[in-house]
């Protein structure tokens, strides 16, 4: 694999071809916040919180660092007034459906970026879902079971995580979906729960 060097926040950072900006930054102990990312899983690029600014051919643009492959000499900025403001707005937007009672990583990032979780509201009165649809549980489930008991249904704002009834037997109560959830949506499911309880937790009927 080819070695190359890119510049992140004005520092030369070594990386290997095929890495993403996020991986290169992580190796160099530069922190970029993430919500839908997990090192063990394929990059997904849905939460956009890891957006960074890159400069290419004299033009700057925002890209999701979890997906963008490193290039020789690539200039990357991980923090700026603009980036911070966009991250703040993303967290505020995520709270529209998820609600203000989120915990976990999302709560930490909200404080770090001064996000007002009640800034935007939806006119459609719905129960806060505590879910930002990062898809980590779904992707982790696929990884753990080589199949999946849960998946997305619907589109746009009606998109949600659901259990597939015909896939009930796939669930082995491995608890991985719980451990990857960044908002505290999926509570611990205990030592030996029956499957419908998992379904209830995931479908928001705790």
């Amino acid at each position: 694999m080819k070695n190359l060097t890119l510049r992140i926040d004005d520092k030369d950072i070594p990386a290997n071809e095929g890495m993403t900006i996020l991986e290169a930054a992580k190796n160099a102990k530069i922190e970029i916040p993430t919500l839908c990312h997990n090192d063990e899983l394929e990059p997904y690029g849905a939460c956009r919180i890891c957006s960074v600014e890159i400069e290419r051919k004299g033009r700057t643009q925002l890209v999701a660092s979890c997906c963008y492959p490193v290039e020789e000499g690539l200039k990357v900025k991980t923090r700026s007034h603009k980036i911070d403001k966009i991250r703040k707005t993303i967290i505020e937007l995520a709270a529209v459906s998820a609600g203000i009672d989120v915990t976990g990583r999302m709560r930490e990032l909200a404080s770090e970026y001064n996000a007002d979780l009640s800034r935007f509201r939806s006119n459609v009165k719905t129960e806060p879902t505590k879910c930002i649809l990062c898809g980590l549980c779904v992707r982790r489930c696929i990884e753990a079971t080589w199949d999946t008991a849960i998946g997305f249904i619907g589109r746009g704002v009606t998109r949600k995580i659901a259990t597939f009834p015909e896939k009930v037997s796939v669930c082995t109560n491995c608890n991985h979906c719980y451990s990857v959830c960044p908002t505290g949506r999926i509570s611990s499911i205990g030592a030996d729960p029956k499957f419908p309880e998992v379904d209830d937790i995931l479908a928001g009927r705790e």
């Binding site: 990059p43 956009r48 963008y68 403001k85 937007l93 529209v96 509201r121 704002v157 998109r159």
Partner: protein, 642 residues
């Protein structure tokens, strides 16, 4: 039926073409009826049936040929019937007109004036298509044969010199020469982005992985846009020919045509075209003996706007949910099933045969410096003549709207034109002289898009128009990334509030933050461009937003929550029309008694406003409604002068 002869060499095709041409009698009487989607919706199939029985009844069976064709672009005037060889065009033909056409025009060779095209401005009738004023301003290259050939007849296409470009490609050009020609022609993607087609082609061609795929994007979903549908419906072989040439240039042996579910006729016609091309040996193994193999499959979309985005479209072909993925590695390198895939719009593919046949220099001579060739628009909204138009790039907006579209309906004033679909922007009056091409449109905050053009008049509220497009995208967002999914939800809610007079000054700050976040951080182009209608509405029509928020007034008097209807007692003639139309009996008065509206009951549906013939009903916004006239007031009759 004549047995199909498989064309196994270059000479075969030429002989076949000459054979068709020779057997054609130039004096043959043909009745051609347009049967595109819009024509069918307006009863074209019934017209065809009536012609069939009428020709038989009048003893002309076998003497007059009845033919189905595509659409000539005058959608409002459908169904259209053309009588050959004189090329007489009749519009808005109804089944009851058919006997007269057969007797008078076909038998007695006289013209039925009332069925000819009538120009709204001058009242002049036109006999031939090329005499119609709005047709004269067009340059029809891609749509040249639409409305003339039968889309389900490969013979028709071949006799109109179809597949000659493929001939030239396979027997006279090397693959890289084809790419070079497209590069020299400076063809830019007709799907909207205007990305140079040759770069896409070359990237896929040079990608190391095999196999490679070529794909036609016919997932046209913009409100009011139907250019791609028309091309595939009316001339499917032209798209197919372009695709085969592209496959040869790129080195692909499998192609896909992605068609949205809502286009049944287009899907049917392209499927028929593929079958015919296979039978003729123009698709399959060893095409015309050239040694080149290529096959095409049709994939019907399941009805999601976002599937028009390249990565989502490819995921959908793979049988998964049509959702975009980050494209930092382009689909040209890693697309369908992870393989190099070249996706182009219908119009781009259909342009290829023209460039190959007539050359890059010719193509560049049409259009502007940066954007060669023609552009096809579906001109809709508040113009007199809606329909499909094709013009050279660089034609001004004013020309399109006033010369081709015949101006604004009802003599109203032009306000804005929306180009590029829901991801485009509103362009105000001051830019009517703007030459339409890829670069000029993006300079003013809009874009070419795939060619939808919605014209708006003074009665359109620009805040409400922005809300309409935001709502459309809100329904169509796949929901994968946060900025687009939640951003559109909040935008939709906020703008709805503003339209209802519930807007606050600080809403503008929220809108600004959301719009920036969506533009910069969304996953795919749908989210990145979704804010364009809002941005351009704010840029060019800020006064209207302020009026809604601060004065609770709708400038155009269109937002229902902000208007009231009022009957002017000085003008009301007590004709009872509005009274009868009102669905909630909110109008008081009677015969010979001036009418008035009970504001508490009124639902502001506007039925009375539409019904009044005396211009007595007014819309009021943010102004007090005058008290009702005294009960039993007699109308003030207009004195008849002279």
């Amino acid at each position: 039926m004549q047995k199909v002869r498989r064309l196994s060499s270059l000479r075969d095709l030429e002989e076949f073409r000459q054979g068709i041409k020779k057997n054609k009698d130039p004096r043959q009487r043909i009745v051609a009826v347009s049967v595109s989607t819009c024509c069918v919706a307006l009863g074209a199939l019934k017209v065809v049936e009536t012609f069939k029985t009428e020709l038989e009844k009048q003893g002309l069976k076998g003497k007059v040929q009845l033919k189905n064709t595509g659409c000539s672009g005058f959608c409002e005037q459908s169904p259209a019937v053309t009588i050959y060889p004189e090329e007489i065009y009749y519009f808005k033909v109804k089944p009851e007109d058919v006997p007269e056409i057969v007797t008078k025009t076909i038998k007695e060779k006289t013209i039925i004036e009332k069925l000819l095209y009538k120009d709204l401005a001058t009242g002049k009738r036109s006999r031939k298509l090329q005499d119609i004023p709005s047709y004269k301003h067009q340059l029809r290259l891609l749509t040249k044969n639409s409305g003339k050939i039968d889309p389900r007849s490969i013979e028709d296409y071949i006799s109109a010199d179809g597949y000659s470009a493929l001939e030239k490609t396979l027997f006279e050009m090397k693959p890289d020469q084809v790419v070079e020609e497209i590069k020299k022609a400076n063809l830019r993607g007709r799907g909207g982005g205007g990305f140079p087609t040759w770069i896409k082609w070359e990237t896929t061609r040079n990608a190391k992985d095999e196999p490679k795929y070529v794909i036609v994007n016919c997932d046209e979903g913009d409100p009011g846009a139907f250019m791609d549908r028309s091309l595939v419906e009316d001339n499917p072989h032209s798209v197919l020919e372009g695709l085969i040439i592209g496959a040869y240039a790129i080195g692909a042996h499998q192609g896909y045509v992605y068609i949205r579910e809502e286009y049944p006729i287009a899907a049917e016609n392209i499927s028929v075209a593929i079958k015919q091309a296979e039978d003729f040996g123009l698709l399959g193994d060893n095409i015309m003996g050239s040694g080149f193999n290529f096959r095409v499959k049709v994939h019907r979309g399941a009805g999601a706007f976002v599937s028009g985005e390249s990565s989502a479209l490819m995921t959908a072909i793979e049988g998964k949910i049509g959702e975009p993925r980050p494209k930092y590695v382009h689909t040209a390198v890693k697309g369908l099933w992870g393989k190099p895939s070249c996706l182009n719009n219908v119009k781009t593919w259909a342009t290829i045969p023209l460039i190959v046949l007539k050359g890059a220099e010719w193509f560049k001579s049409v259009g502007t410096e940066g954007s060669s060739g023609t552009a096809i628009f579906s001109l809709v909204g508040k113009v007199n003549s809606t329909g499909l138009v094709e013009v050279p790039m660089g034609t001004t907006l004013g020309d399109l709207i006033f010369n081709i579209g015949g101006g604004i309906k009802g003599g109203k004033r032009f306000k804005a034109v929306q180009t590029g679909g829901p991801s485009g922007g509103f362009i105000p009056e001051k830019y009517l002289d703007l030459p339409v091409d890829f670069d000029e449109l993006s300079k003013v905050g809009s874009m070419m898009g795939s060619g939808g053009m919605v014209v708006m008049d003074e009665d359109t509220c620009m805040v409400d128009a922005a809300r309409y497009f935001v709502d459309f995208l809100h329904d169509e967002s796949c929901g994968k990334c946060i900025p687009c999914r939640e951003g559109l939800q909040v935008l939709s809610n906020t703008i709805k509030d503003i339209c209802e007079g519930k807007g606050k000054d600080e809403d503008m700050l929220g809108i600004q933050d959301i719009v920036t976040t969506m533009e910069e951080a969304s996953l795919c182009a749908l989210g990145k461009t979704a804010a364009n209608p809002v941005l351009t509405s704010l840029k060019y029509f800020k006064d209207e937003w302020d009026d809604h928020i601060r004065n609770k007034r709708c400038t155009a008097k269109a937002c229902r929550a902000l208007i009231k209807y009022y009957i002017d007692p000085q003008k009301c003639q007590a004709c009872m029309l509005c009274l009868k139309e009102c669905p909630v009996t909110a109008i008081e008065g009677g015969k010979d008694q001036v009418h008035s509206i009970e504001q508490e009951k009124c639902t502001k549906c506007g039925a009375c406003y539409e019904a009044c013939k005396f211009d007595a009903i007014r819309k009021l916004s943010a102004e007090p409604v005058p008290p009702p006239p005294p009960k039993g007031m007699k109308p003030i009759r207009k004195r008849k002068n002279k």
